[in-house]
């Protein structure tokens, strides 16, 4: 057993291989937190998309994953995933979140798709400073 596996984990994203690492860690954490199989897959897919966004646009970044707790209850109720980079940033976030919009040759479904997969999705970006995506999924 890995020690402290339920605490926050941090995965550096520098290449396409790291995307696989990040989503496997996310899958493991989601399973530990008791998410059902379908949700575990949705979470892994969302991580895959935001990690790919880092590789494609910022080259380097990191993904932080942590259990989420309800303020009053000690039971773990969800998962939070933060994807951040110090890349070029997104000039028009609304446009980037449009389904089918891509500045590269992608399908343009990555970010809007990830939003659909999760319960909460927030994106903060500043041109020249980078992008931070925070997404959460709660156990049903």
């Amino acid at each position: 057993m890995e020690a402290e596996s339920q605490t926050q984990s941090q995965t550096s994203i520098n290449s396409a291989t790291d995307i696989v690492t990040a989503r496997q860690r996310g899958r493991a954490l989601a399973l530990e937190l008791g998410f059902n199989g379908a949700d575990v897959t949705l979470i892994a897919a969302a991580i895959s998309e935001v990690a790919r966004n880092i590789v494609d646009h910022a080259k380097n970044g990191e993904i932080l994953m942590a259990p989420l707790q309800n303020g009053h209850s000690s039971s773990r109720l969800g998962i939070q995933i933060i994807a951040r980079d110090q890349g070029p940033g997104i000039r028009d976030v609304a446009q980037a979140m449009q389904y089918g919009y891509s500045t590269r040759k992608g399908l343009g479904v990555g970010l809007p798709g990830a939003k659909w997969l999760m319960d909460e999705f927030d994106i903060a970006s500043e041109v020249g400073r980078g992008t931070t995506i925070t997404m959460r999924k709660w156990k049903r």
């Binding site: 396409a16 199989g37 379908a38 949705l42 897919a45 998309e49 389904y99 479904v109 659909w116 997969l117």
Partner: protein, 124 residues
């Protein structure tokens, strides 16, 4: 990890063994493109049973492989997409438009038999 490609009669079977990196998928595309010519294959089965996630990149690659092989004269069928994986793809809005899919290897072979049925050159 490289995907082994088996020759089965007039078909090729690419059986994905583990989680694939982007580079593995690109390699698979190149290998299939070449082998279809080498073996004059009319059909290709890509077995994705072990994939835990098929994200937008993997979808684009699978679609690209199928369309490329079609241009080389071979039909492609993707088999073994797991229920949770299929659900996540639907949520992501990903489709394998224009690409054959089948439940498993057996159904995939039946699909190819149907798709590649044609009169042989000597008419027999």
């Amino acid at each position: 990890m490289q995907v082994p490609i088996l020759k089965q009669g007039g078909y090729l079977i690419a059986s994905i063994q583990s989680v694939l990196s982007d580079a593995d998928l690109i390699q698979l595309r190149d290998n299939l493109g070449a082998r279809v010519g080498t073996y004059r294959s009319r059909g290709v089965i890509i077995d994705v049973t072990v994939l835990d996630v098929i994200d937008s990149f993997a979808t684009r690659m699978l679609r690209g492989i199928a369309h490329m092989l079609k241009l080389r004269g071979a039909e492609t069928v993707i088999v073994g997409i797991q229920p949770d994986v299929a659900f996540a793809m639907v949520q992501l809005g990903l489709t394998l438009e224009g690409v054959g899919t089948a439940l498993d290897l057996e159904e995939g072979l039946a699909y190819l038999d149907l798709k590649t049925k044609r009169v042989t050159r000597d008419g027999s």
